[in-house]
Symmetry: C2
Subunit: 342 residues, 2 copies
């Protein structure tokens, strides 16, 4: 592709130049005082907020792994691409400053601008909702037939105040925002009948296709000093709670009956609903802990808060995570966020 | 691959977890006071330098487009991946603070850690040379047989002082660091006989396989206020000078006889050598302008400085770039850094 018969180094193609120009034009509509210099030089220049630290996260969105063109509209792929990074910032209570998009399109998609426009629609619409400018990135022709994206989000938080996953303490109570299992339930429905979701857009409640990163809730947790630790639910409750337990060196207990199950998951029946809520992943809600004396409101940043368990001392033979079922029986809960090679 | 028969959302595989752990272990060896929190939470935390601005650049390194496993050793691929980003920082005179690596490996390469170790050797060796910690990133299984990398570099420069490509003025003189055409010449030799380069490493002069980003020269240009504009030579002199001319709204003139031709390019004979120097690309030297009254030293940051032309007023029918050949004849020079779809 690149190293052609004349073995020249990789050059930008005209198709790429057109798509760079398209991104530049679309991105220039977004403006922010944090961006001193956007797309067009070797680097973008950001102005940090005095007394703040910077938070940086990068997330792949690769066709065939994170989205499928026959399942996800271009707008959904764009929305999901930036939602992942924004959710990482939300988990630490940070305010987003700027996004950077690296995007590689197959030759066919670079020529046909319809997919690119839809992708940018989805990505920039969510960026605009949260006042995040697209300040730069990279473009390339994809070496395969797959669309490859990598998003970088840079955020800001007062020095020493960013929420972490490593600071939960025994005795803390465990909370989550919103509801759980919706993304897994919608994904199952999407797989069964992609056509049903053709006209889905971000105005509806689509926990898989258009997840809503909880930036306002995360910012409120930080500002009001309510959370002792926080993480976003990207891998699933069982796995993300394991991250908190490992990094904080604690154990935890979940009350199954307390879990706020998303209506789409409830349609699956109680067993599947519970499985989706515990292991589904990609709900992009926040999972956080708070001191037992902390007064938590019912909602934060417009989203409901639910107490779902508590943090315990890590002590053999206590499991890292214990699930208490409807009948009050306790059992060890293993993280199911990882797949083995088959 | 991801959306399997059970249509579960993408989860980290055990292969991925091993390779994340491997990156984390290798990266933790690098330490920097700028990184408050590295790999292991939702975001990395960076401490900005008071009075400084942040510079951000992202660059893809995609197998089949930016490197080939049958031509480039894993160490060369890793070196080149981070060299591209470091060179972008050098072009703006910035000091690198941290790097972030997004890396997707095909299943076979994730299992066999030899390639990954070689890649990290190459990447971290150049990072360590310039005291840049690897502070985070993302990992995924590649949806194809290709290795996919995206590197983010974050740098720092005193507020308002970063070198730009848009600030050249008519009357300025045009300079470059080091020598030109070496990367294109070595790439041609590599394509002809990849085996000859099997044992190449970063200790030798390998302008294509192990390019050296000119961070010390860029920092000196900024610190000593020598440059009126700057860019790195990634696309090739004709194309990168066009970027300066367009963004600065000026024209330029190059003296062919003054161009510092790399010894590897000289072996190609005068015509091909000139072509490699003008259009080759990937030399990762700096191209900069300075006021005619500026006193430029012979070398900056350990690398030679050569005057190669001058900046003119943009005025029809003057071409954007004029080449003055050995006989003193003037001709218009078109940018050759872009390829058309064939």
């Amino acid at each position: 592709m690149t190293y052609d018969a004349h073995s020249r180094p990789p050059k930008k193609t005209i198709g790429e130049l057109l798509f760079i120009e398209r991104i530049r034009t679309r991105a220039s509509a977004s403006f922010s005082s944090a961006v001193r210099l956007g797309i067009g030089d070797d680097c973008a220049i950001l102005k940090p907020i005095p007394g703040h630290e910077l938070l940086v996260t990068t997330d792949f969105s690769l066709e065939g792994r994170h989205f499928r063109r026959d399942w996800h509209s271009a707008a959904s792929a764009g929305h999901r691409t930036i939602a992942r990074g924004l959710s990482d910032l939300a988990a630490m209570g940070a305010k987003p400053l700027a996004a950077f998009l690296s995007l590689a399109l197959p030759r066919s998609a670079a020529r046909n601008t319809r997919w690119l426009d839809g992708f940018l629609d989805g990505l920039l619409s969510l960026a605009n909702t949260h006042s995040v400018p697209l300040a730069g990135g990279d473009t390339s022709e994809s070496p395969s037939d797959q669309i490859l994206a990598d998003i970088v989000l840079i955020g800001s938080a007062p020095a020493g105040r960013a929420l972490r996953r490593s600071t939960a303490r025994a005795g803390d109570l465990l909370y989550c925002t919103g509801s759980l299992g919706g993304a897994a339930a919608e994904l199952a429905a999407l797989a069964a009948s992609p056509r049903r979701f053709r006209s889905a857009d971000s105005s509806g409640d689509h926990p898989h296709l258009f997840p809503q990163p909880r930036l306002a809730a995360g910012a409120a947790l930080l500002r009001r000093r309510l959370a002792s630790s926080c993480i976003d639910l990207s891998d699933g409750l069982s796995t993300d709670l394991t991250h908190i337990c490992k990094e904080s060196k604690v154990a935890a207990e979940i009350d199954a009956v307390a879990l706020p199950i998303h209506p789409l998951a409830q349609l699956l029946g109680p067993d599947h609903a519970l499985h989706a809520a515990l292991h589904g992943g990609e709900d992009y809600e926040l999972l956080f802990t708070a001191r037992p004396t902390a007064k938590l409101p019912r909602a934060l940043g417009g989203v409901r808060i639910t107490k779902i368990g508590r943090i315990l001392t890590a002590r053999k033979p206590r499991p890292q995570i214990t699930l208490i079922d409807r009948q009050g029986h306790r059992s060890a809960l293993a993280p199911h966020g990882w797949e083995y090679f088959t």
